[in-house]
């Protein structure tokens, strides 16, 4: 199982071709170098490789197992934790924080404040631990009482930092190894019907910015990963069966690609639609939406994404 790979990962940085190009200015040969790993050999190279599903981090656990996206039961208490890897040479006292949000592509401070779950401190060791070259530890499990008003679809978000490798407040899992998200939404839909799914998008910048939103079928590599996760068969999605709508009074524009200008912290609701074919119980469709900054004075575009998996609605007993 992929998760077991992360828990027992002994990958060596030198075996990774991207060892010297991790995407930030921290030096793993001097400092702690924390990563919430997206895959077993993840040493913190960011932006995440295109073959990695950015909205599905298998290191975020509920009750000791990777979260699947299944709805959480309101009023119950679960334990949330995450695997954390130290790819640097110094041990550290690390801290982790967890958040939950309504389905969204981008994470703003205000949203994270609303969905703060809890936090904890824990030691992370250094290479050589557990008989391997990399040190991977599970963070303390934080008790989380599921709110009564929690929606069926949520996103889980994790943040890690430590002295010498502080969190950056970018809140962007795609470009920053201190952050990870489980942003997978499982939707059950009736065959031969058009099904909708709603999510929001925000502008985390301090200035108005133009974003592109693109809906598309999940790539073949990503589908293989999802098939393993859900032990189900992915059915290719026909592009003409999916659409993206802005949910805004008077706006009828739709398509696979939209543009929206958002003011700072402005939130925009979107709707995905899909024409469901007939699927067997162990089959699913997968689509993703990516938000990309198209106009900015900054060099690096801020991006975000969300994934939706459609299974067929089983016949319910009367």
């Amino acid at each position: 199982m992929a998760t077991e790979n992360i828990k027992t990962s002994d990958s060596h940085p030198e075996k990774d071709a991207n060892h010297d190009r991790r995407g930030d200015d921290r030096d793993p040969n001097i400092d702690p170098y924390l990563v919430i790993p997206y895959y077993a050999a993840d040493i913190g190279v960011r932006p995440l490789p295109a073959t990695v599903v950015a909205w599905f981090c298998e290191s975020i656990f509920i009750d000791g197992v990777p979260h699947t996206g299944a709805p959480l039961i309101a009023g119950s208490t679960v334990m949330i934790s995450a695997m954390v890897k130290n790819a640097g040479v110094k041990p550290a006292a690390a801290y982790i924080r967890f958040y939950w949000l309504d389905p969204t592509t981008v994470f703003t401070q205000a949203d994270l404040a609303d969905g703060f779950i809890g936090q904890g401190v824990f030691p992370v060791s250094i290479p050589g631990s557990s008989g391997g070259v990399m040190s991977v530890v599970e963070s303390p499990a934080i008790a989380w009482e599921i709110p009564d008003d929690i929606p069926p679809h949520i996103c889980l978000f994790a943040e890690v930092g430590c002295p010498g490798d502080l969190e950056t407040w970018s809140f962007n899992p795609v470009t920053d190894r201190h952050y990870a998200q489980h942003n997978v939404n499982i939707v059950h839909a009736m065959p031969f019907e058009t099904t909708s799914f709603f999510f929001s998008a925000s502008n985390p910048l301090k200035e108005t910015a133009l974003y592109e939103f693109q809906i598309r079928p999940v790539s073949r590599e990503a589908l293989r990963f999802l098939e393993k996760q859900y032990r189900a068969k992915a059915i290719p999605v026909k592009e003409d069966t999916i659409s993206l709508y802005p949910v805004k009074a008077g706006s009828e524009k739709n398509g696979q690609k939209l543009h929206a200008s958002l003011r700072p912290n402005e939130k925009q609701l979107f709707r995905i639609t899909i024409d469901m074919p007939e699927l067997r119980n162990n089959e699913f469709l997968a689509v993703e939406v990516e938000q990309t900054l198209t106009s900015t004075r900054e060099e690096q575009p801020s991006t975000g994404s969300i994934g939706v998996l459609f299974f067929t609605e089983s016949e319910r007993e009367e």
Partner: protein, 574 residues
Amino acid sequence: MVDYYAHMAALKSITDAFGAQVADPKSKQTFITIQDNPSYAALGTLIDHLLYHSGTSRIELRRLTRASQLWRDIREYIDAVAQVRSELESMVQDSSQPDIVVRYNAIHDTLKNYLQPKFTSLVGRLQSLFTQLRDLTHIVPHGQGADLSVNQWSWRDLYLSRASGLFAETLYKKAMDNGSEEAMAFAYGVSANYVSNAVGSNFQNRTVGGARRSHPHRDRVAGYSIGAWIRKNMAGMQLSTTQLKSLLTIGSPINPVLPPDIKTILEKSLTEVYGVHGLTNLPDLDKGYRNMLKHLELLDSFKPLPVPQMIDDTVYIKILSSGTTFLDAPLGTPPPQDPAPSSGGGSWTDDIPWWAWVLFAVCVALVALCFLLGICAPAQKDPYPGPFQHDEDGTSAVRSYLTSDESLQSVKFMFNLHMQLYDMANTSLRVMKFLGLVYPEDGDLPAVEFKQFTQIPFKEIPDFKKPIVDKDMFLGFPASAEEMPRIDHRPFFPGDFPDRIFTNPSQSDVSTFGSKLWMAQLQGTDADKPFNLSGSNLNLDADREFLQLCWELATGGSTLDNPLNFTILGYTKI
């Protein structure tokens, strides 16, 4: 020479094995005597440490005392930071509390008039300690390693490398002549020490990559790492050094003294074995005993620091909601200057001089100082304004501050400072562990610096290596020449853990040799060679591999010669 815990585990394993063999009333009585006098048996088992502390440990004890005092002060300092944090967060949560000006001014006063000035002196003391440790003289090498003549060796080295069997035999006889249960327990303890060192040193040397005389610093870290492994993993060994001290404390707990009978037995034995060779300047055994207890007490004074509390959840949510961006991350640890550690090569510890870790600690301290002084505060603003006046205006001003985004910045700042100080303290303590001043904790053992000593290496044939040229590189496995001639007689195999010292499949272990030796002593006979104390002296550093006899350099030779030019010493020769 093995550490306290290996010796204590040896005593336990020999006692257990011996207990399983006793059948006749005499052996049963001896077993009961040893069990009824655990302090005396333990004292005998630690005879080499007592001799070490009779004078050789002077520098180590002084530096350890200094480090212990510094650790205590660092702990107090961090506690004060935690207290300020807690107060500040409480006031930020509820600024309408009574006496808010008094309370805020109190923490402001602590910050400005205690924490900020004290930090400089604390870091100065830390740097000064590390500067002093830089020469590594707290680990006193074996006199033989420096080609000193025997009369210049310490008593510890004499005991381990000269007439060892004769000494144990002589001491045993004198204890039996004394006839007290305490003396007998002590003598069996000394025999346990003999076996423990003979077998355990071989395991230790193979992880070190050579003998103590060649690699004194690696040897110490190995001894402490193996001891920590034993403490963590072996049944009945979960003792703190304070508990060990308590076990060894005989008489008044305020002023324990070496029991006179034991002192007499020891002095007579030393005189009889070594005095005849002109070594009449006996060790100060009372001082050795006191210092050993002091050492055990100091070792236990480096208690782990409490992990910093996270920022209160509700305050942290306020911080997030404030929309303030805390881009304080770019300020990190500046790289050490020369040489830069690298992850290349077989093991990255091979490339790192130990003092690079001191630079890490100092750099972490500098970052903490930036937080403390507010240098890395956004817009260079003082994150800790005040003091405020004790009137309505002051109350209004402090409340205004405590409900502002600036106070949230200060909360975050204080958290960063607290974490940074915690990291600085632990990094500093880690250096002391690398230097063999302090035992590693359970949580340190997986780290390669310690783990390398708790398992017989796989990576290469761990032959004995000659001394390394750059002593600062002692954390890495020696890359120096193999010492010749090789002796291929080893009971340990790659992957073995320290428990194999005490029992192993080939029965070349402490419990087998030790219980047989005790039984032979009890019956007035000799144990099988080479544990026949009346005819063999084992080198208790195992410095020419497993179960080799005491030896001396050929005239004009040096331990740096390769091959080593030596002769085996006669039974009564030193």
